[in-house]
Symmetry: C2
Subunit: 175 residues, 2 copies
């Protein structure tokens, strides 16, 4: 029996119905084989995370994708809450790290243009997530991100749709 490796996407977006980028990226991803999308805001609208269920989902996956819109150079609050509660001592680190060698891929969208996001800025933005993966002996595969994901005008929105579709393709090729 061949067991296909599974990829779980931890999606954080407080209003996915209004989303352009994260909606396209997570919808396309969910159509691939052996994938699971866990939309934190939908699962836990009151921030009351089911830690055991989340840990179980991670144990069943070989690759974990953090998918989110960048808010204030950082992850949305619910993703931070998920990290703070799910990455417990004894589960994610400590005597036994049950997550050893699983892969982490960071995938995010940015509303504003690329010119404000030099390599150095992106490195700083990703530093906490990279640090988390190193501390827990996970493999940090890398990050992918796209800019100009906003719907300020119809033209901007159409442009964002194209960019998000390209991002989505790139993501699917990586898994």
């Amino acid at each position: 029996m061949v067991v296909m490796s599974k990829t779980v996407m931890i999606l954080a977006h407080p209003s996915i119905e209004k989303s352009i980028g994260n909606k396209i990226i997570s919808d396309n991803f969910s159509k691939e084989k052996n994938t699971e999308v866990r939309h934190l805001d939908q699962l836990y609208p009151d921030f009351n995370i089911d830690v055991k269920a989340e840990q179980e989902a991670l144990l069943n996956a070989e690759t974990i994708i953090f998918q989110f819109p960048l808010f204030w150079y950082n992850v949305p609050a619910i993703l931070k809450h998920w990290i703070d509660t799910v990455f417990e001592y004894g589960f994610a680190f400590g005597l036994e790290s049950t997550l050893n060698n699983k892969n982490i891929l960071v995938s995010f969208t940015i509303g504003s243009p690329n010119k404000h996001y030099s390599d150095e800025v992106i490195e700083k933005i990703c530093f906490p997530l990279k640090g988390l993966t190193q501390y827990c002996n996970l493999n940090y595969i890398g990050e992918i991100f796209c800019n100009d994901i906003n719907g300020y005008t119809e033209e901007a929105k159409n442009n964002a749709i194209n960019i998000a579709n390209k991002h989505s393709q790139k993501l699917i090729e990586l898994i």
Copy 2:
């Protein structure tokens, strides 16, 4: 009439009753004149932040301190949630930034020793908060932090108490 400038501490700590550092620092701070401590976890145990009340508290202050234990090279989730909800368009940035020129001081405690926290690492850790203040035309006064704040042993705990008291003094001198 002389109006003394007010300093508000936005404190994030999910279990302040067990805290060593953040408890000492916030207790000492609260004894100073013209100060206010807003303990987010106590005010909003369900993460349901009263945005208007928080904005009002900021408007009444000249200096804002973010006080927290560092979790995964980042702020605790509730502080991120506070930022995501309180720093709204039209309030903190956009046509009218009502927070213009208020001061921001970042103050945090770290459980582990100093050797893992080079200047470069601290700069990366503070980058999102610094970015926030720049975007909203606030004055980033700087950051102060202390290491070894843990109670793993009685000796470690006593050491942490001393360190936190020194941190606390330094903070009070800065405001």
